[in-house]
Symmetry: C2
């Protein structure tokens, strides 16, 4: 699949301290390449490393972006000299008011809405682009229904690459605009997301210079989510939190935050204190939560029906590994209704001034439920990952909120409106 | 006007190194208070300081937000210990592709879309809130048609303050939602923005505990824009740029960036090299550009008619001071049509992957025009300020962009669509 690419590839493939792709199922290793499935057992491939010595001072002296962790990612050391969107180092906010509302004493919110296209997807796409450049690709591509489309189109524009973004033609006009503005090849496909996804896999096989970030370079792309974990630990003052609540779509992000915490401990960058990982799903698409609660290892695919569309993956590829992470760390997976999701968005906005997309509402509402059912320890230091922006999912809150009152332009009318509050 | 407040005020008013309010017109000074107009001549009041010694190392060791410059702002030294949105330290992006398109050799974009509510207003509101707390206020308020409403409602929510935000009732639904979500008192007023503004001034006089950020605490609020200038200089490696292009609404931002550059020079934080300041307006609301071109000192108010609504202030309070800054630094003011604004938004997105609101389109298109008419030196290091996010002004680009094609789910159809590109 990759042989014809070899001619175009840089003579020395420099992916930093990455050394091989390893099958998560059977452990079979292959050299670094644009592969995503094990030739032996069809299991998913993951990047393996041989890390050199990395110190806190090295990281602190690095760029104010995910590239401060470049020594821990499958990218070359000069990655930040190529034009890129410079994502990461988003705010970690002490959330005392939300904590009081949820009954959690020591609560933090990682606010990834501050990324260039306002979701964590800028992190994974930036790593995918850097690896794709090394692997000899020249076009950045993806199937997507939203955040990923934005991130791919923007990253390609910034790098001067062509992009091909495939979306279902039924996508809301606003989501189409926020990708189309970057002027790549945005193709609307008459079909649902599954159709679009299948088409991407077919096109990836046909076009040797197209890097579909979440298909043929997925092992590299996925590593970008580790930076969320690294940043949380560094921003806490080089310490792991006691608990972290993470939304689950494919499940990749949750497993990579787990990997980041373990790596930081193994490298001595933090004390390897115990932590618990919690997964958050919308009830309308909760295959991992269902499996967790049933004590099963098997993820049974579902047909998604939830307003949390960025989490609506009915057959989550990393679902089994989410169960591993959660069970190993003594965490849990929980799910919440769409009504609770909207309440979660509103609670976070009201208490902390952060407007999250539906996935953020899932995280907040799940944290609330986990406190109520006793699974989350209200006394342990806890971090919630808010991974996308409410400006992109206005439709979720549209019917629930609005002005307090509409009044004539008089001070008396304003006073009267406020008195009725 | 402020005497009744004295009882509620902290016994020691701590506004850092701020020492007085000075009239920009007649120089008359009054003690620090919630005043905005000179009692002698009705001129605008501005904060004066007695700066202590401030080093680069002090600033670099500070928080990764505007509070690293707290010693240069009218806020107490412990400002960052109070919950706030932690704005600032947004990306300064080397914009080689945009530079190539504009014919500018050494171009940077300051991307303020990364702020908490995705515009520079988070900076000014954070400073207003910090000063308002010291001045004894307990409610944060504003009249606004967009970005400021978002920023005030979010900052108040985060701080646990009540907020009162007044908007024209005709505002687009999306803009209402993005403020309403923070659950302050959002009041829609049947009238235009001028009506809303007048109502704010009336209410500010009536309610001693309401800090209208852009009315009764305006001198403090306006200082927040200095942080844009400080960050540009620090992020360039403690150096002033040769040229900077800044959008002009009230004109306050432009004059404060000028002030920031001068202060950095006077304090020895940068070498006081010459710089030129350029103002950017939309032709449909270009009173400052018109006065500049006419060689006049008088700003003649206009009735705004432009898609760049965040710049649509027909009678800009700081217009004369914009003319001063621009003329003193050998810059210029220029204006561009709505069509050029949209082209500016698209050019920035296509070349750098940054999606700006209409004000950003004004800045980019103005830079283009200034190169073409020979006013901007294409060989000097140049910075464009992008102060707000395209997600908030989707209507401006709506009719101009969309998918390349809509196709059935087949690889052949995608290939065919791309070949027609």
């Amino acid at each position: 699949m990759t042989s014809a690419l070899d001619a175009q590839r840089p003579t020395t493939l420099d992916l930093g301290s990455a050394r091989a792709l390893s099958c998560r199922e059977c452990g079979h290793q292959i050299p670094l390449a644009a592969e995503f499935a094990c030739a032996e057992c069809f299991g998913p491939l993951e990047v393996s490393y041989e890390f050199g010595k990395i110190t806190r001072a090295d990281i602190e002296a690095g760029p104010k972006s995910i590239w401060r962790y470049r020594g821990l990612l499958p990218v070359p050391a000069d990655v930040d000299t190529h034009p890129n969107t410079e994502p990461g180092m988003t705010r970690l906010v002490k959330a005392d008011r939300l904590g009081a509302a949820l009954g959690i004493k020591n609560l933090w919110v990682k606010d990834d809405t501050g990324n260039p296209t306002h979701s964590f997807k800028d992190r994974v796409v930036a790593v995918a682009l850097a690896a794709a450049r090394q692997l000899g690709f020249s076009v950045l591509a993806c199937p997507s229904t939203g955040n990923l489309a934005n991130a791919v189109a923007a990253a390609a524009a910034r790098a001067g690459w062509d992009s091909v973004v495939l979306i279902p033609s039924s996508l809301e006009r606003a989501k189409i605009l926020t990708t189309a503005v970057y002027d790549g090849a945005l193709i609307a496909v008459d079909g649902n997301y599954d159709d679009v996804n299948r088409l991407a896999t077919e096109l990836a096989a046909e076009h040797e210079d197209w890097a579909f970030v979440n298909v043929n370079v997925r092992p590299y792309y996925a590593e970008g989510s580790k930076t969320l974990g690294y940043e949380v630990a560094e921003q806490l003052g080089w310490r792991l939190p006691g608990q972290v609540v993470i939304p689950v779509a494919s499940g990749s992000q949750l497993t990579k935050v787990d990997k980041a915490f373990r790596e930081f401990g193994e490298l001595g960058l933090v004390e390897a204190t115990p932590y618990r990982i919690f997964g958050a799903q919308a009830t309308g698409c909760s295959p991992v939560s269902t499996a967790y609660k049933a004590g099963s290892d098997v993820i049974r695919p579902v047909k998604p029906d939830t307003i949390a569309r960025s989490l609506a993956i009915g057959a989550p590829a990393d679902g089994p590994y989410v169960l591993d992470s959660v069970r190993r760390t003594n965490g849990a997976v929980e799910d919440v209704t769409d009504e609770e999701v909207v309440e979660g968005i509103r609670l976070l906005a009201r208490t902390e001034g952060i407007f999250a997309e539906t996935a953020g509402g899932v995280t907040v509402a799940t944290a609330k439920k986990l406190v109520e059912n006793g699974k989350l320890d209200p006394d342990a230091e806890t971090v919630l990952l808010i991974t996308g922006d409410g400006l992109k999912t206005l439709d979720a809150v549209e019917d629930k909120i609005g002005p307090l009152a509409t009044v004539p332009p008089s001070a008396a009318a304003v006073r009267e409106a406020l008195s009725r509050r």
